[in-house]
């Protein structure tokens, strides 16, 4: 979150700067007076103090420091000593120079600060719209997966209905079979929870939240999302294999966002294999630990592949090779991975299809 310094904070900061400016001037006066430094050198030293104060303080504080600097200079260093009055050229130039410097620098610094704030706000807005876009993308994806998800919920539901009927029938009649009925009831509870888990996952996936990074087991994160597309894959005659390394360090990441990345890659793969008939349709998801302890996630398919020219372009926003689609999926995925300190890239397979890989930093 962007924090705007409060008014009172600004006031006290200026007051403190004014006091330390004054103290610096006093100290300098004392030292220079003892050492008999000439008035021009002292004037320049005082100028440095005025500049330093002006860089951080408000106009009022800076101006006051400038005036004090002038009085000190006039009183202790320009002849006649220990009197105030316009006797030398320096007496005229010094106050004008100090005040001018104070005004110009404080004004400039105000502009700079305002500019910085605007930039911060713009970055914040950009980040927000990116998050929004990612959210929209998740909603769209969820729509595309509706059939699969409905199935995931319908299966345990129909099992519950069957078990309920079975339970009633086991209990009916002259010799109720309580053991069997209990078993059926237990299965009802289990399947009810299974359906609820699906719903919980959907809720989480569709929730509109800022990035929430936590320690994650990336394998578990991947397994959850693979369940979602497994049905779709099976129906399209695609063999899904997982090869998840067991020695992975935990990563710091946003579960939903990383699942979105993996889901996006998986769905692209499914789509690119849909029309393949002359070879096996295979989808391999693997994780590996790299030498630097980074985690490497690989999604490899035997689909249509990507031609060399498009290998980088596919990550551009609004670039798509599909007949349907906005061309935002990979662009969003890449920005998510980069936000996690990793990289996302694509390579063409030796045989057929494409491989997408991304890295994630280990949680230290």
């Amino acid at each position: 979150m962007l924090k705007k310094p409060s008014q009172s904070y600004r006031f006290w900061q200026s007051a403190a700067l004014f006091l330390s400016g004054g103290a610096a001037l006093g100290l300098l006066s004392l030292i220079c007076f003892r050492l008999h430094v000439n008035s021009t050198t002292v004037g320049l030293l005082f100028l440095i103090v005025v500049v330093l104060v002006s860089l951080r303080a408000s106009l009022l504080s800076a101006a006051l420091v400038a005036i004090i600097a002038y009085f000190c200079l006039d009183y202790f260093f320009t002849a006649p000593l220990f009197t105030l009055g316009m006797n030398q050229a320096l007496d005229y130039v010094a106050p004008i120079a100090y005040l001018l410097i104070a005004v110009v620098i404080t004004r400039l610094m105000q502009r700079v600060r305002k500019f910085q704030e605007e930039q911060k706000r713009a970055e914040e807005t950009l980040r927000k719209s990116q998050a929004e876009l990612a959210h929209v993308r998740r909603v769209v994806t969820m729509g595309e997966l509706a059939a699969s998800i409905a199935h995931e919920i319908n299966q345990p539901l129909s099992a519950i209905v069957n078990n309920g009927s079975a339970c009633l029938r086991w209990l009916a009649g002259d010799a109720p079979n309580v053991l069997e009925a209990q078993e059926a009831a237990r299965r009802i509870v289990r399947d009810g929870n299974r359906a609820a888990e699906v719903i919980t996952w959907i809720r989480g996936f569709l929730r509109k939240t800022d990035t929430e990074k936590s320690r994650l087991d990336i394998n578990q994160t991947i397994r959850e999302i693979v369940t979602v597309i497994e049905r779709e894959a099976v129906e399209s005659g695609i063999e899904v294999r997982m090869d998840l390394a067991s020695d992975l360090p935990q990563v710091l990441g946003d579960r939903v966002q990383l699942q979105q990345v993996v889901l996006n890659l998986l769905m692209n793969s499914l789509e690119s294999m849909a029309l393949i008939t002359e070879r096996r349709r295979e989808l391999l998801i693997s994780t590996r630990k790299q030498e630097t302890d980074k985690v490497l996630v690989t999604v490899r398919d035997s689909g249509m592949g990507i031609d060399g020219e498009s290998l980088e372009k596919i990550f551009d926003a609004f670039y798509t090779t599909k007949t349907q689609g906005m061309g935002m999926g990979l662009a969003i995925s890449r920005s998510i991975v980069e936000d996690h300190g990793g990289e996302l890239w694509a390579v063409t397979n030796d045989g057929s299809g494409a491989t997408f890989q991304f890295t994630l930093l280990p949680q230290k």
Binding site: L157, A159, N162, A166, V234
Partner: protein, 209 residues
């Protein structure tokens, strides 16, 4: 349940659904064997008893419709009750045309499933009785000599003994003897029964045996 020995095969890839169906069917006294895939079902040895198949339409690898086709190819006649998560009309039409008993959309009322299963088992029973009697007639037919078969064919086509004799160029007495042999070997109580048996034989693909 009309048949104590009736066996219901369940093929569904979802373990929860499989378990629930097993329990439901056992609760009404049916014998159940459940499988996770078409391959598993085809690979398992099955008793030759009255049975029916409760089949999930969508399975990994071979789909329910594939299995239905495969069973027809293998000449395994088992009535099929399809169950599916979301039944679209073209698929259900295909399944029904290929001889499915019923097409139920999950979740279904238990009674609907049990009714369908009862019907399927009844149909299998009738088919099995029919098969058994046909097999018996075929066995009897197999005991006939070539000449007796000729006589039987001509007699049931409506020819009189003497017409048969003329046709085969034998004496009237010989035809009578053959005819008696045929009636005896085929264990036909009456001429009408023999005609019926011959009709059944004509519909049998194993006629050439």
């Amino acid at each position: 349940m009309q048949d104590e020995q009736a066996m219901v095969f369940v093929v569904d890839d979802d373990e929860s659904v499989r378990e629930s169906l097993e329990s439901l069917l056992r609760s009404v006294g049916l014998r159940v064997a459940a499988f996770a895939s078409a391959q598993e079902f085809l690979a398992s040895p099955r008793d030759d008893v009255t049975s029916c198949l409760v089949l999930d339409l969508r399975l990994p690898g071979q789909s329910g419709l594939d299995l239905q086709k495969r069973l027809t190819e293998l000449d395994i006649q088992i009535p099929i009750v399809f169950i599916t998560g979301h039944g679209d009309i073209p698929t259900s039409v295909r399944a029904m045309k290929a001889g499915a008993m019923e097409f139920l959309t999950k979740p279904f009322a238990d009674q609907d499933l049990l009714d369908a299963i009862n019907q399927a088992i009844e149909r299998d029973q009738t088919a099995r009785q029919h098969q058994a009697s046909l097999a018996e007639i075929l066995r009897r037919y197999g005991t006939l000599t070539p000449r007796e078969r000729e006589v039987m064919e001509l007699v049931v086509s409506g020819l009189l003994n003497k017409q048969v004799a003329a046709e085969l160029n034998v004496s009237n007495v010989t035809v009578k003897v053959h005819r008696r042999q045929v009636m005896q070997k085929m264990r036909a109580g009456s001429f009408a029964e023999l005609v019926k048996m011959s009709e059944k034989l004509k519909t049998s693909p194993a006629r050439s045996l």
